[in-house]
């Protein structure tokens, strides 16, 4: 199946009209040697055959619907209202192009404008762009913005920022002779003394995640205060779900707030595609990476929307652009937009509350277990670290749990060698009291048998 409507019959008619006798005549510029290759590939398949293969491949994975999962660490399971899939599956949304022709793209443009408004409301920031690839690249773009704006080449970041985000950051600044200083997190949150010592006139930005990789809520107000003693940007990386209740970056004077918005109506998808959001204070507007939609009027004076401030972008500025970004994540921003409208003002608050209540319930239950300890400081949002007694390996715990239909937490020693025997657990609103109790009971069982 190749989705090509024209047939040999059409081809012959077309070639006749073009006055050519062989298709090869059109390829005369291609050196002969390049035409001599074989493609050792399969024969084309019919739709039922293809779908059968894909179904089987899908079923070979153990998905989070078959098991109760306690994995988080930057990719989160939340319930997605039915209308999100229904509306985002309209092909007027998913088969259209980037809205360069506003006359026939008002749907997409208004969605982007509404998405920008929603993200500003949630974060308390002034301006949002139309989205970036994911949380990790949004954070890296924030660092690049700071480096170029301040013309300084030192970035300070907390060691409790998602380890893969820090890896991406390092990759991004490789060509720019930038020094990255990581601040320790002795009890789960940033060491303030170390931060104060590291800060200086050469620092372009301080990057902090809250709730951080371990789930701990950082003292963002204090960090912001210390950072702003210098001519340095404060970049907050936050979880949008937490902002239903937690203090938004706008309330603690962050200059840039970024993060992963997969949580707003997007599936886990084995890590992608996800949705990076990027919001700023208004004085940084001309430095914003990526697309932005704005309101204007048409020739008849009617309200309408268009991509704007394109003088920042690569197709105009080429090597002088604020970023090389072209494609963004419009369809996932649409999903986030629908999700936020569906949850609404009250719903987002209730959702944050449910996440906090359930994770704290689980925390209190786990505290009573022998052989397990909760090692980091409160307050936390919906994740926390559980440490086992030395003789019980995380790997064997997770193997045991899987047999019971439970996907356990993430082992932390791969990124934090000092956190041996620790797992990061995440409890969102998708976990019922019954499933949390079952999880605790299984761990208690391990604790007595191992």
């Amino acid at each position: 199946m190749d989705y090509i409507p024209n047939t040999q019959y059409d081809k012959e008619i077309m070639m006749k009209e073009m006055g050519i006798s062989s298709f090869e005549a059109l390829l005369k510029d291609i050196p002969r040697t390049l035409r001599e290759f074989s493609l050792p590939l399969h024969q084309g398949l019919s739709e039922p055959q293809v779908f059968n293969i894909l179904k089987n491949l899908g079923e070979e994975n153990i998905n989070t619907n078959k098991c109760i999962s306690f994995l988080g660490a930057g990719a989160y399971e939340h319930y997605i209202p039915s209308i999100v899939d229904h509306l985002a599956s309209r092909s007027e949304f998913y088969t259209c192009y980037t809205p360069y022709q506003p006359e026939v793209s008002q749907g997409t443009l208004q969605v982007i404008y509404e998405y920008q408004t929603l993200m500003c409301e949630l974060t308390g920031m002034d301006i949002s762009n139309a989205s970036l690839y994911d949380g990790s690249t949004a954070l890296a773009e924030a660092a690049l913005l700071a480096i170029h704006l301040k013309e300084k080449n030192k970035i300070i970041c907390s060691r409790a920022i998602h380890p893969e985000y820090r890896q991406v950051l390092k990759t991004y600044v490789k060509g720019l002779h930038t020094e990255i200083v990581e601040i320790d997190v002795p009890e789960g949150t940033m060491d303030m003394d170390q931060l104060e010592k590291a800060l200086d006139d050469k620092t372009a930005a301080v990057l902090v995640q809250s709730p951080n990789f371990f789930g701990c809520i950082e003292d963002m107000e204090a960090i912001s205060g210390i950072t702003h003693k210098y001519d340095t940007l404060f970049v907050a990386c936050v979880n949008p779900i937490s902002l239903g209740l937690l203090k938004p970056p706008g309330e603690y004077s962050a200059d840039i707030a970024v993060g992963e918005a997969q949580v707003l109506g997007n599936y886990l998808n084995y890590g992608g595609p996800y949705l990076g959001f990027f919001t700023i204070k208004k004085d940084l507007l001309r430095r914003m990476p990526g697309r932005i939609a704005g309101e204007t009027v048409d020739r008849n004076g009617r309200r309408c929307f268009a991509l704007t401030l394109q003088a920042r972008e690569q197709h105009i500025r080429r090597q002088k652009a604020t970023s090389n970004i072209c494609t963004n994540q419009a369809l996932l921003a649409l999903r986030a937009c629908i999700y936020l409208c569906a949850l609404g003002k009250k719903g987002m608050e209730e959702l944050a509350n449910l996440n906090i209540q359930k994770s704290h319930y689980a925390y209190e239950r786990l505290r009573t277990l022998n052989n397990f300890r909760l090692v980091l400081k409160k307050p936390f949002f919906h994740e926390f670290v559980l440490k086992t007694h030395d003789h019980i390996r995380i790997g064997s715990i997770n193997e045991y749990l899987l047999k019971k239909g439970i996907i356990g937490g993430l082992e932390l020693s791969q990124w934090y060698p000092e956190m041996d025997n620790c797992m990061l657990l995440c409890i969102t609103e998708t976990k019922t009291k019954t499933s949390i109790d079952r999880f605790v009971a299984e761990l208690a069982q391990i604790s007595t048998t191992m």
Partner: protein, 515 residues
């Protein structure tokens, strides 16, 4: 009738609800008993308060203000707006993929890992490259990854080179990506044929040059006929060749960048491989590299523990098993037992360019597409894409100036210079096409053609659709002769007419605020 839809914020009414969460089934404590007051927000987020039918009608009505591939032909040069098969969507939406967490142990993810592994083998075959990474999230992200690989490769050899050569016909992302990576960009002027000037290239490609970034076919839709020489010049000077694969659709089954001598290639899955554009993303920009650059690919790499496959037998993994050609890893397969894993252990790797493994959802769509196409389908894609473009080109050349080439690959570029003198610009022509029910072509790109209109039909359009487009273009050419103001005043039939873009930029209104 005014077709416009109010903003969702203008429909809000206090207390109205849409989605309702389940009640709290654990003891519901006061929030201040769990968290200190100073971490809680002071001001509530002013999100909409609307009912389910409000939300459904709002977004359904908005959707109807869009043109899309499912309703209209997009002759959008360089964007390859081909049909997006529905089965691809069904595959990517299977629960076995959507509900898979990226940190589940590899034992729980063998299905998706084997898919990604097989997809890499197929793409290697199609492109002639030696290995692929799926991490880059889009074409521009692939370019950045490619630049970082070039830098790492040269540094490993102990060389510091500062310059990247880019033809003046290139996409804007090319110089932006090179600059982001700290390289100086040297633009090289195209020759009178619209191709890279070999003699000039020989002069500027010095020992200080890290690479040349080419697009082949280039943005004029022309095959760089000296491609073998271009690669030779780069390699003789110790440099590399990066190929922007935005125009790969022209080459499917016709020629392979790897055979040309290209060292790094990015593919746009949302162009060549039929994944939907989504109104501007998500896309995906996997990159393929030559053997020498393999160690520098981002981590993690997807690998198979038993190497019986492809590299040894030179065949697609799908047809190597003697049982069922599509059998997936099965422990009882004996000698064909395969296990897939993620390998981080590459000391020379450039690092990570994205958290997790890339836009997996787009890989699933691509894999579905390639299974459907098969070998003959892949050959036919390139052939019919080139045929359709040439058919349009030849029908339009009597009415419009086409400054470069006598034939083209998958796209061609019109210059509306002549029409501009008569009173209607490339932009006006583009807008008038909207009134005829066609999406506008790409305009004012490439920069080397005055009043450029770039047309790419793709292989998924029928002869009848092409004829209808030709008829519209001829009508517009005639209108410009007789009454150019009707073209200047277009569009008239769309939900809005031309927006005031100057106002949008001068008085930025980028979010709604309560009045």
């Amino acid at each position: 009738m005014d077709q416009m839809e109010p903003l969702i914020f203008e429909k809000t009414s206090p207390g109205r609800r849409c989605f309702i969460l389940p009640a709290c089934d654990v003891p519901d404590k006061r929030i201040t008993d769990l968290l200190p007051q100073n971490v809680l927000r002071k001001n509530k987020a002013e999100l909409p308060e609307v009912s389910e039918i409000d939300v459904v009608r709002h977004f359904t009505r908005l959707s109807k203000l869009n043109y899309c591939v499912d309703t209209n032909f997009y002759p959008l040069g360089s964007c390859t707006m081909k049909y997006n098969p529905k089965i691809n969507e069904d595959s990517a939406r299977l629960e076995g993929f959507t509900k898979l967490h990226p940190y589940q142990p590899v034992d729980q993810c063998q299905g998706i890992l084997s898919l990604l592994y097989d997809l890499e083998q197929i793409l290697k075959n199609i492109s002639g490259m030696s290995a692929f990474t799926f991490q880059p999230a889009a074409g521009a992200h692939g370019e950045l990854t490619g630049m970082l690989i070039i830098r790492a490769y040269l540094e490993k050899k102990g060389e510091k080179r500062h310059k990247i050569i880019i033809p003046d016909s290139a996409h804007g992302t090319n110089p932006a990506s090179a600059a982001l990576c700290g390289y100086e960009v040297e633009s090289i002027q195209s020759n009178t044929e619209g191709l890279i000037d070999i003699h000039k290239l020989q002069e500027v490609f010095t020992r200080d040059t890290a690479a040349i970034m080419i697009t082949n076919p280039n943005t004029l839709g022309l095959f760089e006929k000296d491609i073998l020489e271009i690669c030779r010049i780069a390699h003789d000077n110790g440099g590399l060749v990066y190929c922007d694969g935005a125009n790969m659709n022209a080459l499917l089954g016709i020629a392979r960048p790897g055979d040309m001598g290209v060292d790094i290639l990015h593919l746009n899955l949302h162009k060549t491989f039929s994944t939907p554009h989504g109104g501007g993303g998500p896309g995906a920009g996997p990159i393929g590299v030559s053997e020498a650059l393999k160690p520098f690919l981002p981590i993690p790499r997807i690998e198979m523990t038993e190497k019986l496959a492809l590299e040894e037998h030179g065949i697609d993994p799908l047809i190597k098993s003697n049982k069922s050609p599509y059998s997936s890893p099965n422990p009882s397969d004996g000698p064909f037992h395969r296990k897939y894993l993620l390998n981080d252990n590459y000391p020379d790797a450039i690092g990570r360019v994205r958290a997790f493994y890339g836009h997996v959802g787009m890989m699933i769509r691509t894999y579905t597409y390639l299974l459907s196409l098969g070998k003959e389908g892949i050959h036919r894609v390139g052939e019919y894409a080139v045929l359709n473009a040439n058919y349009l080109r030849q029908k339009l050349e009597k009415y419009y100036d086409i400054p470069y080439g006598k034939t083209c690959m998958h796209e061609f570029v019109i210059s509306a210079k002549k029409q501009k003198k008569k009173g209607a610009s490339a932009l006006d022509i583009a807008k008038k096409l909207l009134d005829y029910g066609f999406h506008a072509p790409t305009v004012y790109f490439p920069l080397i053609v005055e009043e450029a209109i770039m047309v790419e039909p793709t292989e998924t359009e029928s002869r009848e659709t092409l004829d209808a487009f030709v008829a519209a273009m001829i009508q517009i050419a005639n209108d410009i002769e007789q009454r150019p103001e009707t073209v200047r005043n277009s569009p008239q039939t769309t939900p809005i007419n031309r927006p005031d873009e100057v106002k949008a930029a001068r008085e930025p209104n980028l979010r709604w605020k309560k009045k």
